[in-house]
Amino acid sequence: MVYLLRKAGMKQTFSLVWILILVTLAVLPWLPVWLGYAFSVAALVILALLFIAIIKELTELDEKLKQGEQVEYDYRKLELSALSLGKPVKQLIDLLRELSRQNNGLKARMSEVEHASLQVIESAQQVSYNVQAQSDSTNSTAAAILEMSQSLQQVAEKIKATFELSSLTQQDSEQGKVHLIQLKKEIEAVKQDADITQVQMSELDGLAESVAQMSKTIQDISAQTNLLALNASIEAARAGDLGRGFAVVADEVRALADRSSQAANQITNNVQQVLEKSHLVNESMKLVAERSGGCLDTAEQTENALNCMHSRAQEVQAEMQIISANTEQQNMANQEISEHVERVVQGARANAEVAEQAQAIANHLKTLTQNGG
């Protein structure tokens, strides 16, 4: 009966059964009673078989629908159109078909979402890796800046020390200048003293020459005295014994004249030597005066050099002040950069966390879509 139902169709099979029943009822009055009963029983049996067939088809439909999950809700695999259950099953197939398509569409969307979430995971991992690398680099930069800042601090300290040394040098050069001025004054005093000594030596020369003149006069006097004593001796000899006493005096006078002459000679010699020495002293004093002049020139040059040094030291100090100020500014800028870099590091850390969260969300999304699929 199931075969008949499927091959001929439910409508046709029912038509045939009704025809059979109608024919039986029409011919019943002319039939023997037993045959009438027989036809009625046969008709009832056929009807019962038909209902049993329909129930079988319904049972099969129920079983096939239960298989839905096994065939992934692909209604084609259920082969429902093979069942002969008329319009209701056809409508059910239509409904199943649409549901199956919607299911496939949703699956495709889920699959696309899963695929997209995988891409998001990859992107998040890449971002996380990049952010980590950025964070590492920034940390290194921060450390380098810190080191640079410390180094700059040392440079600033050194500049300060150098500035102090430069100030001390300036003070020393000022003190040297004062000493040099004093030295110059003293050299000038020496020169003046040398000039005075030279003048006095000239005066001394004059006096020595007058002494030499006086000594010559004494020598002349001594020669005349000697001549007189000789004349006296001659006269005493002439006088004989009377002149003997006189002759002794004359000899004594002659001896005195000789001694005076010798003393005068010695004075002349000594004066000559004094003059020579005085000349030498005079020459030396001239040299002292000249050298004092040279010393003064050198002192002036030294003073100029010291002045120059002083002004240069002032310039160096000014430059040092500028460098110190710049270094201070640079140090402050470095500190600021360091703070910014620290903020960048914090931002990078936050980004890494966000990327990790994105990755976790994408993973969750993937899990959801997998469960949903």
Binding site: L4, K7, A8, G9, Q12, T13, L16, I19, L20, V23, V27, W30, L31, P32, L35, R76, E79, S81, A82, I93, R97, R101, A108, S111, E112, H115, A116, Q119, S123
Partner: protein, 288 residues
Amino acid sequence: MIFDLTYISIAIASLILGLLLVLFIVRKTKKVRHKQIVGIQFILLIRDLITSTQKHRGWSAAYARGDQSVLGDLNALKQNMKHTSSRLEHNFPVTEFERWESYQDHWGRLSAHSEQLTLENTVKQHTQIVSNLLFLLEDIAEHYHLTVEHLSDFPNVGLLWRELLHVAEYIGQSRALGTGIATQQFCSSVEKIKLGFLHQKISEIANGTFNQLEQQKSKADSFTVSQKVSQAKQQIGQFCQIIKQELIDAEKIELDSKQYFSMATDAIQVINDIFDTEVNQIKDHFSR
């Protein structure tokens, strides 16, 4: 005598009933076969319409990218599609299907304004229409008893109306998307996701379909179909590899757009060849 008449009448009634039963069975079988033959013609026309819509999508995308030269082809294709629609409405009861009304409505609006749409929108609209036509084709196949319940000699007939055409459609979508990417030599992250999804779907559905076609061969299956399936497997495998290596994973895209378009078209062609061969085998089966 009455007894004899009774038996004779019973015999005649039983004979009439038996004949009626046989008549019903034969009539229904013939009706089903006739519907199947009509259904095949119907499906081939719908398939033509699908192919034309896919072409229209490609040319509209090219036009949206600024290629004015395709305007003539687009207009000619519109006329061709109009003619196919007219044939469908005159020769087949296509208007009985809800999806046809939906197609007519959507296509009517799209064809009037397709030149003004953006690239993304035109591709989206065409893809929706193709999807609707694919479902229509499947509905027709079921309505005309072109299912495995009525064609037990063709255990893979269901694959023809759904999976095989879907693989061709996914390849068509990746052709439209990939040609644009190859032309611009740049693939955005969203395009990568779309291409990656299409690559995954093509691989999954094509492998599943080809394996089933190889495992459950129809009685009428010839060596040609097996050969075509093997060729299609190889060609689609290569095409998928190109998508992955040259478009998705490539740091710099150097693939020639025309070469890619040609590869995709060849891949669609091998699918269409399998479809045509299987349909011809069904036709031969009906003519026996």
